[in-house]
Every structure is written in C-alpha cells, then in structure tokens.
Symmetry: C2
Subunit: 331 residues, 2 copies
C-alpha cells in the first residue's frame, strides 16, 4: 500500500484535522466532532441552509464545497462509508438559520437511510428539512430513480447555494436543486483502482491495457471492460451516452465538467475536454462554462468523468454567481 | 502506458488546445503558436510584464498561473523539454506593455540557455528583460546557486505579480521576486515515477515499499532511497531540512505549501500538512496562509513537496493580494 499516511485507522480524523487547520478561516465543526464540518460563520441567520454528506475519499467532495455561495455544512464518514444520522443531525442543528435546510447528496443506500433519519430527528426539533438526491451517473442504472450520484452534484451545490445566498425561500432553493439535477448527467471511466487505507488492497483488479467504462467512484462495476482506447474515442462515447439521456440540440447552452478521479493528470483531462468542446461546438451547442480538474475523486484512482449540465437563463446566472470555499473559488 | 491520450506525439499541442478552449476568456497565444501562452488582454499597457517558461507535464506550472495578478505569459515546451528562445521571444513581444519584462523560471540548463537568448533578442527590440532564477529545491545541491527550481516558484509568481499589478517599476518587481525567493525553500519526495508520453516508459524504477526523499520533479535522483515511512516522519524530515537552510524562530510568519506531485490524493496531503502545522505552531511560528493541493506536478507521479516561505509585512501583503488565473483564484 503506497500511501503517505500514519496509522490507517486515523486516516480520516487526521485528514480532517489537517483540513480544518489549513482552512480555519472558512471551516469549523459542530458537536465537538471533526466529522461534522460547517462554515466558520454558521449559522447564517435568515438564509436557507444547505447540507450534504457521505464517505471520505472523494475530495473536494464533500467538505471542500462548504463555504459562501455553496454549502453550509457536511457530515463526513470514514472512507467510502456513510456518516451517522447523529452526525448529520449535528450539522443540521448548527447550520440552521431559521429558514430550513436542504440536503443534497448522492443516492447511496447508507446515506439515504442515515440522512432520512437525521431529517426526521431534525423535524422533531422544528427544523424543516427537504431532501434532494443526486442521481446523475447515467449508466449506473436504466431506471433514472435508481442511479448513483457522482460529480454532477457539484453543479447542484453551486446553483442551490447561489439561490440560498440570494435569499431564496426553502421552496425555491429546493426547486432549483431539482431543476439543476434534472438537467445534469455524468458518465465516468477508470483505468486503475484505489486502495481504501483500512482495507489495504485495491478495490478491484484491471489489466495493464484495460479500462472500464461506466465505473462508479467506489469501484462499482461499469458497463464494459475493454482495451484502453484513445482519448478522443473515450470522450466521444461518454458524450454520446450522456446526450442520449439528456437531449441537446443546436442553440442549447451547457456547462461541461471533465473531472479527474485522482491520479489522472490535468494534461490528460484537457485532451478529453478538447474533444468534447469540438463535438459540442460542431453541433451548435454553446459552452457557457468549462470546469476541468479534480472535483469528485476516488483517492488515487486513475480515470475521469464527463458531466453535462444543460442551462436555462436562471441556472446559468446561478452558476455564474460568486462562491468561495476551500476548493472552489469563483469571482 | 496507461494514459488517456491520442497519439503521444500530439500530447502537448492537444493539451494546450484543450486548455485554451476551456479558458478562452482568460488565455490566448502569441505568434500563431499554442506554445506561446499569454493573457487574453495582453499587453497590459503601463504595467511591468511577467513571463515564465519551461517544459510541459507540470500543470498548473507554468501556464496555469497566467492571469490577472500573476503572470502575463509563458512559453511551454514539450514534456520536460525547454521551449525555444524564439517561443519565449514571441511571448515577450506580446506581453510587453512598455515597462519591461521580468522572467521568473526554474534553474534548468536548457531553459537558462534559451531564455537568456530570448532576453538578448528582446533587448535588440528595445524590450528590457530582467531574469530571476528559481532555485528553491533545497536538497538538489549544496551550493544554493546550483539548485533546481520547483513548487516555490508559485509564491514568487504571486508576489511579483501582485507588485506589478500595483504599478511597481521594473526594479521593484525584480527586487520583490528576488526577496521572495531568498525566503522560499522546498523539499520533495516521490513514491512512484511518471511516464513521458513520447518515451512510453517510467522515468525511474522504485520498489513497492520504497520512497525517495529529495527527488526532483523530472525524476532527478534525490538524497536517499529508503523504505516508506509514516506521513508524520516524512513531514518532520522535510520541514527540518528546510528549516536548517532557512532559519525560522518563534514570532516568524510563514506561508506553507504542501504540493501533490500528481497521483497523491489531497487527503494524504492534508495529513502531511497537519504535522507541519503542528510542528511550526509548537515552535511559535505563525502560519499566515496554507496552500494544500496540486501546484507543480509531474503528471502521474505520486509524492509531495513542502515549501516554506518566510514573510515580512510587504511579502505577506503581496501574497494576500487578489489574483485570478485558470488554476489560482484568490479573493
């Protein structure tokens, strides 16, 4: 296991401690538990609060997006493990500014169970919680309601966070999150596995000349294991699959995210972006904003994902709105 | 070779094309050559211009720092190869705003030769060029004048860029770059090599349980090959080595950068940062700003570097000054 760490069982608390120390001006934690990350200025009174949560190992997801214009708080579990209902409740209590809380998180069984419980406990404390599940991973299930949530959640954080910062009501912020997610699709592919520190062995095995299309960010099986293809073909296939599920035509406006899963260098991500850009532009689709880099990772997994976000005027304006978090600054 | 690319010989031009398309609002290129990256609004009249240059494969170094408050332009070579004197001259011509140009770049033979030639050619066109070499890699040579330049160059770009943006003269901007660099030291370590696309094999070999302390960002040999140590020990040794060369004492103020070389996840970088933070704080040294992430990489190399930047009031203010580039946004 070739990782820079101390005792694997302290991987997450040490990581969180380091992160809180590096970003003490922006982040704090609730309930005496470093797994319960909140904005340093939480609660922001009179603002709808946004929370997310999930397992560690995906930085900047989740806690990297806690800050002005995006999220108010985030419950973080062990690597690839859901945080508890109590941890999400602690976050909810601390961030509630009197106008309710919207949970936006990926559609994974453990998270859904725990965060539904947290929402119920919060309601007994007179905190109204709305839940919006992220299900953007287009090939993870034929049924859109059963899909997993991946990198596209960042666009939902961004738009809902902007709406909340602008003074939107609980109904309005929830509606923006839903409308954004209805227009967001992601597809991923992987070249190598990663190693969960406490497990100490790779999440899966794959040949030296192989790739897996559609693989999930915890190593969930994809749709095809095959020989490694050129970047252009990978980009074309991901884009085609996404556009079959999210129809786009000449005159449409989109945001594009090419996300690295961890070990894939930005140089390669820009080669993928280039092909996506050329194909969309050739079809008359306008790219409103491009995001190329690491936005939702799987530690040292090599691979990438492509996210397409179809914009209307309001979503575009919300995406453009300023934000400042430890991992995402937009002016 | 497990990379997401097309023909390896097109790796750099395709990467640059993708990057220019993703950041068309901020970046452009000079002389019809995508290797000659400049600010989209270049030249900024009446401002001292800053340029850097070097081989590809180190994103965000170099071109990721071209933008308001940092660099005006950058000549980019093939992977780990210097750009030509003519390319640096093209950049120089395009960015010159009438107040001269400062070159700030890493101390590597090919770059020094080509950029000295570019400076000479520029002077024949009545463009005054000053050169400041980055030599922050503390273990790369006992003689400080012979050391290589690595991640610490980003702090020099930041401070000199701020000074230029504030209207500093050519003398003043050069002096700030020199003063910053006199107070910047970096040490790195690597766990795995990377693969240069056109070469197709790893830059070096290393055992599954080994690390190399002091390794350079092109795979230059370090000072010791040894068994992989815990994160805390790695952090302590890098910090100790740096502080032996850059004396720091209680009451001093520093900026810290923990930089990932490519494949090392941010989670691990925060574990390293945590130890550095605790050691400095215990010694009464104040951390003015912390930067944790990928700032100067070696494609998919695993490992990290630590940079310490000892601040005075002016350098701290210049570091705090806003900047906006494709890879570095500070408000």
């Amino acid at each position: 296991m070739k990782k820079i760490l101390n005792d694997p069982k302290n991987f997450v608390p040490e990581m969180l401690d380091g992160l809180l120390k590096a970003h003490a001006d922006q982040l704090s934690y609730a309930g005496g538990d470093v797994h319960c990350i909140v904005r340093a200025d939480a609660p922001v009174q009179g603002k709808v609060a946004l929370a997310t949560g999930g397992g560690s190992g995906h930085l900047p997801v989740f806690l990297g997006y806690v800050g002005k214009g995006m999220l108010d708080g985030c419950a973080v579990g062990d690597v690839f493990q859901s945080p508890s209902a109590e941890q999400m409740l602690e976050v909810t209590r601390r961030i509630h500014g009197g106008k309710g809380v919207v949970y936006i998180y990926g559609n994974y069984g453990g998270d859904v169970m725990n965060f539904d419980m947290a929402a119920e406990m919060a309601s007994m404390e007179d905190i109204e919680v709305r839940t919006v599940l992220v299900k953007d991973d287009v090939v993870s299930n034929k049924d859109p309601e059963k899909r997993r949530g991946v990198a596209g959640m960042v666009f939902a954080f961004k738009c809902a966070g902007a709406k909340a910062d602008q003074g939107g009501s609980l109904d309005e912020v929830e509606a923006i999150a839903r409308r954004a997610l209805a227009n967001i699709r992601t597809m991923g592919m992987a070249l190598t596995p990663c190693i969960v520190p406490q497990v100490g062995k790779p999440t899966f095995t794959i040949g030296e000349d192989e790739m897996e299309m559609g693989m999930g960010i915890h190593g969930e099986p994809g749709i095809s294991r095959e020989s490694l293809k050129p970047a252009n073909e990978i980009a074309e296939r991901m884009l085609k699959t996404i556009r079959e599920d999210l129809p786009t035509a000449s005159g449409d406006r989109v945001a594009v995210m090419v996300n690295g899963l961890g070990a894939t260098p930005p140089e390669e991500l820009y080669i993928v972006y280039r092909r996506v850009h050329d194909l969309l532009t050739a079809d008359g689709i306008k790219i409103h904003r491009a995001y190329v880099g690491e936005f939702a990772t799987s530690m040292e997994m090599a691979g990438c994902s492509l996210t397409l976000f179809k914009l209307d005027d309001e979503l575009a304006a919300l995406l453009d709105y300023p934000a400042r978090t430890p991992f995402f600054v937009q002016v």
